[in-house]
């Protein structure tokens, strides 16, 4: 019964705290949207942040070059060996910070603590990409283990302002996929038009208010004005997309599952399923995703790892302090962290499997997607060397299958510049970059 599926989809996908289950959907015949249209595939970017310290005993391959020995933490990625590289010893130099605030500047490179008592920031690399890779239904998606700003999100806009992250699968699904059936499309377009009128009227008022303000107050108001302008622009883009229709698939198969599970693995897997779906259907081309916080959450996997490693029960934060800097590979806390890194690698491998299985016009979706996967600490609180993996993007000119290690004076911004350049963004530099990392390119 058409009507009831419609209701349940809309009703069911809304909400807080619960997860959704994506069945194995046969979408677009296993091809990207561009492939179905016979067009060239656009580039995509997804950045995943590893919170806390990595387990350094398991993370670093013991040798470098193309014939490097795969490290324990990266074992789940073995079959994708030629599709990713391990990058060691990049870091922010001007932007070196310490403690638990790395999510603020991992992708921006800005020294947020330059002025004590305040946090200033600049645009994040993903948002530079988003400026050039659209337009799509969503210009970008900031995802996280929970909803929020500050350390929950990795993305900052052109003014350095936090872009709130979504931690909830249902909210994400609803935002990603506008209605597809005709009656709903009409209603959605009418709503878009109404929203534009509402904003337009409000904007006139805000502008006349701005005229009366002092310089600092103007700065504050400009964030709002800029955002309204951005939304108006998005509404115009949205209208076009609604008019053209979007890729369709059977959404009645999307089901709800009760909340209350506390598995990070499941959370990440479902998020990456949605990322793959979003890339395939071309609803967005840029994603950031924070894989957890610095002080938790204390998800269930930790219990298993602790049991297996013979470590005492602790909070996630404490495992990192105890294990993140233990030189002894047999230290039980260190083993727990390495298990966590393995899980992250497995999640990445799973996403790579999915992307590799989706056919693009030329090669696979993975070949058109850059996956940045890393964190800021190889030691608790340290920001002196960033553990980093880079995967995918063969058709964008990347050459993988190597462990590259620099001398500690190479800025992470060079990598960001390299990524942006290969994505086709017309930028000459990013933050403190000196040039592209040609070692990574074919």
């Amino acid at each position: 019964m058409k009507h009831s599926t419609l209701i349940s989809r809309r009703a069911v996908l809304r909400g807080l705290g619960a997860t959704i289950v994506l069945p194995c959907l046969d979408i677009l015949g296993g091809r990207t949207f561009a492939a179905t249209q016979g067009k060239t595939d656009p580039p995509r970017l997804a950045c995943f942040y590893i919170p806390g310290a990595i387990g350094r005993n398991g993370w670093f391959p013991k040798d470098t070059g193309r014939n490097y020995t795969l490290a324990d933490s990266h074992k789940p990625l073995e079959k994708h060996r030629d599709q990713f590289s391990v990058l060691s010893n990049l870091r922010h130099i001007e932007g070196q910070i310490s403690g638990h605030v790395f999510p603020y500047n991992w992708l921006t490179g800005h020294n947020i603590n330059q002025i004590a008592g305040t946090i200033t920031n600049t645009i994040s690399m993903d948002q530079v990409a988003a400026q050039h890779l659209g337009p799509t239904w969503l210009p970008s998606m900031a995802l996280s283990f929970r909803d929020g700003v500050g350390t929950s999100t990795l993305s900052r806009n052109a003014l350095g302002v936090d872009i709130p992250a979504i931690g909830n699968h249902r909210t994400l699904f609803e935002r990603l996929f506008p209605p597809a059936d005709k009656a709903q499309l009409e209603a959605a377009r009418a709503r878009v038009a109404l929203n534009r009128s509402v904003l337009d009227t409000a904007m006139g008022d805000v502008k006349s208010y701005r005229g009366k303000l002092t310089a600092m107050d103007k700065d504050r108001l400009d964030q709002y004005l800029e955002s309204i302008r951005e939304i108006e622009k998005r509404l115009i883009d949205s209208d076009k997309i609604l008019q053209n229709g979007r890729p369709q698939f059977d959404e009645s198969g999307v089901q709800t599952e009760p909340a209350g599970k506390n598995s990070m693995r499941e959370h990440i897997e479902l998020m990456t399923d949605l990322i793959a779906l979003a890339f395939q259907t071309d609803m967005t081309r840029v994603v950031t995703h924070s894989l957890g916080g610095e002080g938790g959450p204390n998800y269930d996997e930790y219990k298993t790892w602790a049991k297996d490693a013979g470590a005492p029960m602790r909070g996630a934060h404490d495992y990192h302090h105890k294990g993140g800097q233990a030189p002894d590979p047999n230290n039980p806390d260190a083993k727990v962290i390495t298990r966590r890194d393995e899980m992250f690698s497995a999640c990445l491998a799973r996403l790579m499997d999915k992307l590799a299985a989706i056919k693009a016009t030329d090669g696979s979706l993975l070949d058109h997607t850059v996956l940045l996967f890393g964190g800021c600490q190889i030691n608790s609180h340290s920001g002196k060397s960033f553990p980093t993996l880079l995967a995918g993007g063969r058709k964008l000119g990347f050459r993988h299958g190597q462990h590259l290690k620099w001398d500690g004076r190479k800025p992470m911004s060079d990598l960001y510049l390299t990524i942006l350049t290969q994505l086709g963004c017309p930028v000459e530099s990013f933050k403190e970059s000196k040039g592209v990392l040609s070692e990574l390119l074919a």
Binding site: T118, V206, Y224
Partner: protein
């Protein structure tokens, strides 16, 4: 006495920096940079950034960097910087720098800020008359100095504004003018029903289901049986989902209490909708005068199951008890002394007994009414007075727009300002939208405008705007909500700068129950209480989590209620630190070992003279249990917290690469914690801050991990997981608690009590300065700059002789230029 310490320096000084004159609005390059370069770059420049402070990249004064300049001003004017053993600037040079800072801070400061998430939600509730938690649809806010009201933290990205757009849409969609509320209604008056069960069965005809739990009694209603920990059943009402799953769900219930016998505790009513907790409250009303409770929930905020929207109501007992003739089920733990018996569970009784013989309190559900797609008629009753009847006419539209505008913008709105919105209304009518639909869109547009979104400055040159800005500042500070009619009236009369009027308003707002909207967010953020509270009682095993939650909540409420009373009853500042009373309810009384405190409501309780913790915030279980972590590093956390939040002597951030103090690594194994800390303090990187933090933290060693008093401590502690319940265990030898330490200026103490007395004798001005600085951030949205600090000093001097009574100090702040000036 220096106020904020930037750092203690060990520096190598080398003057550097070739100065290029740059065109800029201020005289930074001419007057300031050369001096910084000469005296400061050595430790705060390119090669070294002691305490994370760096000057060499600054090229001009920027308002965002104002907090840095405040610190510079304090450090230089107090003589702390440059350090004594380094070259010193001349008095004239110093004066030039200090004057430059003061002048720049006055000229370049921002004065407006947007409403934060909490305030936006409250304002939308106030405007629409709906009790929906609109905040659930909005992103969180950045913090300044720990507060969600800080202007610089209240940013706007496009995604945040898109969320605001959605939420304001929901708010206006919740009101109606000419059109009726059209959603489905499910209703049964159980107490008046000849056959209550049958009446509920009748819901099936409308596609809904009622699943009552407990016996029905004719003339009364549904007797909801108590649930104990582990019980899952609740009385559920399952309703079909409206199209799109959107709109407001409104639930109204009449409930009363029925106790079959004396000695029973009051039960708590829990209400949730589709798994989301909406309310929990103690039920005390008798049958004749039931509590009438109404909840409004936005369906978009819910996780809705395939079965439908589920409204769950339950009766939960969150306190252990037993009464004569019915012993407690739990007899294994005679060491746990609980009033009326032992253990944590319910009394033993035969489940088959009729209700009037069961030793259990019932909640009687007398009426239930649920509406889907609810819309409230607007304007609500209090704002309707003097309004002509609404018709489908331009005149009505104008009148409603004007009223909405005044309320939404919290000030009079001129005809000219309204034109724009009326034009939108007319345009939409032309597109065949109904009166209601077109007006709702115009209303929403007003909500997206600056008048709603921004709080103006009390220093605005337009007197009307300035007066209304004071009204808003007062009400958002002391109620967390927009100003009411009385405040708006006083603003319109231009009276909100008169000291007597302001004093009377502070009294009025504080005395109103809405002042919870001040105390709760202010205290939670001031004392950084939004961290998980650890409870590690070995007695709270598998099934006690609900009791523990009740206890955790109560622990937090103790501190909130305690500080609320200090303000409302104008208590002197010393009672923040020490007193002979605290706020307690039944759960806290068990925790603290007091008898005869019944019910969940917190009330002032006089403490026993021999209670070693005494009164005062530092001894609250919620505070001390919050400041625990694994192992025994509590000393550091507790010390740092006390310096930062109570003594206004916040340690600077740790240096970039901090080694971990790891008690179980290598040579540290087996050493007492005090010895490790000493080692720590000798390390030159750590000593700067730890010399103060560690000795301060020892004052609280008598508080165990659940915030209870202890006389002995274990060598170490470990966390264990028992059937999903976390337990902390003391390991190794016991020893008497060592609470010997020092306050930051060196006063030595041998016990917690001595420490408190020393704080009262020597640190009350510091405590109050800290409190005032926090009130300034919270109330005005800016970190106090040098002008504010000078005024704070004056307020402190003024109250030195009367012992800083809290409400009077707050009044002095409100009357000052800090609050009224900008």
């Amino acid at each position: 006495m220096s106020v904020v310490r930037v750092s203690v320096c060990v520096c190598i000084l080398f003057a550097s920096g070739i100065v290029f004159a740059e065109e800029s609005g201020d005289t930074f390059l001419r007057d300031v940079q050369p001096m910084l370069s000469r005296y400061c770059f050595g430790c705060h420049g390119e090669s070294k950034q002691t305490s994370g402070v760096r000057f060499d990249q600054l090229k001009q004064y920027r308002p965002q960097e104002s907090p840095l300049w405040t610190k510079v001003h304090e450090a230089v004017s107090s003589g702390e910087m440059p350090p004594q053993d380094k070259p010193q600037p001349t008095a004239a040079q110093k004066a030039q720098l200090l004057n430059w800072i003061a002048a720049r801070q006055r000229e370049a400061a921002g004065t407006i800020r947007r409403l934060n998430r909490r305030e936006t939600s409250a304002a939308l509730r106030d405007l629409t008359g709906l009790s929906v938690q609109f905040a659930d649809g909005l992103p969180g806010d950045g913090r300044v100095g720990g507060f969600d009201t800080g202007a610089d933290g209240l940013q706007d990205a496009a995604d945040s504004v898109a969320a605001l757009m959605t939420v304001t849409r929901r708010a206006v969609d919740g009101i109606r003018f000419l059109e009726p509320s059209s959603g489905a209604i499910y209703q049964t008056i159980l107490r008046a029903s000849a056959d209550p069960k049958k009446a509920l069965d009748g819901w099936k005809a409308k596609g809904a289901r009622a699943e009552p739990r407990g016996p029905m009694q004719k003339g009364k209603g549904l007797l909801m049986e108590p649930q104990w920990v582990g019980d899952r059943d609740s009385t559920d009402f399952i309703l079909p989902v409206p199209p799109q799953g959107k709109g407001i769900l409104r639930v109204t219930i009449d409930v009363s209490l029925y106790k079959p016998m004396p000695g029973l505790p009051n039960p708590k009513l829990w209400v949730s909708v589709s798994g989301k907790d909406i309310d929990h409250r103690e039920i005390t009303a008798d049958f004749e005068n039931p509590q009438v409770l109404t909840y409004e929930v936005q369906l978009e905020d819910l996780a809705i199951e395939a079965r439908g929207v589920r409204v769950s109501i339950s009766n939960r007992i969150e306190i252990p008890y037993s009464i004569d003739g019915f012993e407690n089920e739990e007899t294994n733990r005679p060491d746990e002394v609980v009033p009326g018996g032992t253990g944590w569970y319910r009394p033993k009784f035969d489940r088959k007994l009729p209700p009037e013989q069961k030793p259990a309190p019932y909640i009687v559900l007398q009426r239930v009414s649920i509406k889907m797609g609810y819309r409230t008629a607007w304007p609500t009753a209090p704002w309707k007075a003097g309004l002509a009847e609404i018709t489908d006419s331009d005149a009505s539209a104008k009148q409603l727009l004007s009223l909405w505008g005044q309320r939404a913008w919290r000030r009079p709105v001129s005809e000219k300002e309204q034109e724009r919105f009326f034009a939108l209304y007319q345009k939409l009518r032309g597109q065949r939208l109904s009166f209601d639909e077109a007006l709702r869109a115009a209303f929403q547009s007003m909500l997206m405008s600056s008048g709603f979104r921004y709080l103006a400055s009390p220093g605005d040159s337009d007197k009307t705007i300035a007066q209304h800005a004071i009204a808003s500042r007062l009400s958002f500070m002391l109620w967390g909500a927009p100003p009411d009619s009385e405040l708006l009236q006083l603003a319109a009369e231009g009276k909100l700068r008169e000291p007597a009027v302001l004093d009377a308003q502070v009294d009025r707002l504080l005395a109103d129950p809405r002042s919870d909207g001040f105390v709760r967010p202010f205290v939670l953020q001031w004392l950084e209480m939004e961290q998980p509270i650890t409870i590690a009682s070995t007695s709270l095993k598998k099934q006690d989590f609900r009791f523990a939650r009740n206890l955790k909540d109560s622990m937090r409420e103790e501190t909130l209620a305690y500080i609320a009373r200090l303000f409302v009853e104008n208590k002197p500042a010393r009672e923040l630190i020490a007193s002979d009373w605290t706020m307690m309810n039944d759960a806290l009384a068990i925790h603290y070992g007091y008898k005869g405190v019944e019910g969940g409501l917190l009330r002032p309780i006089k403490l026993r003279a021999d209670d070693p913790r005494g009164g005062g915030v530092l001894g609250h279980a919620g505070i001390q249990s919050m400041l625990t972590w694994m192992g025994s590093n509590w000393v550091i956390y507790r010390g740092a917290w006390t310096l930062r939040h109570i003594l206004d002597d916040a340690p600077p951030p740790p240096p970039l690469e901090v080694p971990e103090l790891n008690a179980s690594e290598g040579s540290n194994k087996g050493k007492p914690f005090r010895e490790l800390l000493k080692q720590h303090q000798e390390d030159v990187n750590c000593s700067v801050c730890h010399r103060k933090m560690d000795p301060m933290g020892f004052a609280f060693q008598n508080f165990d991990i659940s915030g209870r008093w202890r006389e002995v401590e274990h060598e170490s502690y470990q966390m264990a997981d028992l059937d999903g319940k976390i337990e902390w265990r003391g390991i190794g030898a016991e020893r008497p608690v060592d609470a010997v330490g020092r306050l930051p200026r060196g006063e030595a103490f041998k016990s917690y009590e001595e420490c408190k007395q020393l704080i009262i004798r020597h640190y009350l001005p510091d405590v109050m300065r800290g409190l005032l600085k926090n009130l300034v951030v919270y109330g005005t949205g800016r970190l106090p700059d040098v002008h504010d600090l000078a005024l704070i000093k004056r307020i402190l001097e003024q109250h030195e002789s009367d012992g800083y009574p809290l409400r009077d100090v707050l009044k002095s702040l409100v009357r000052s230029e800090i609050f009224l000036g900008r």
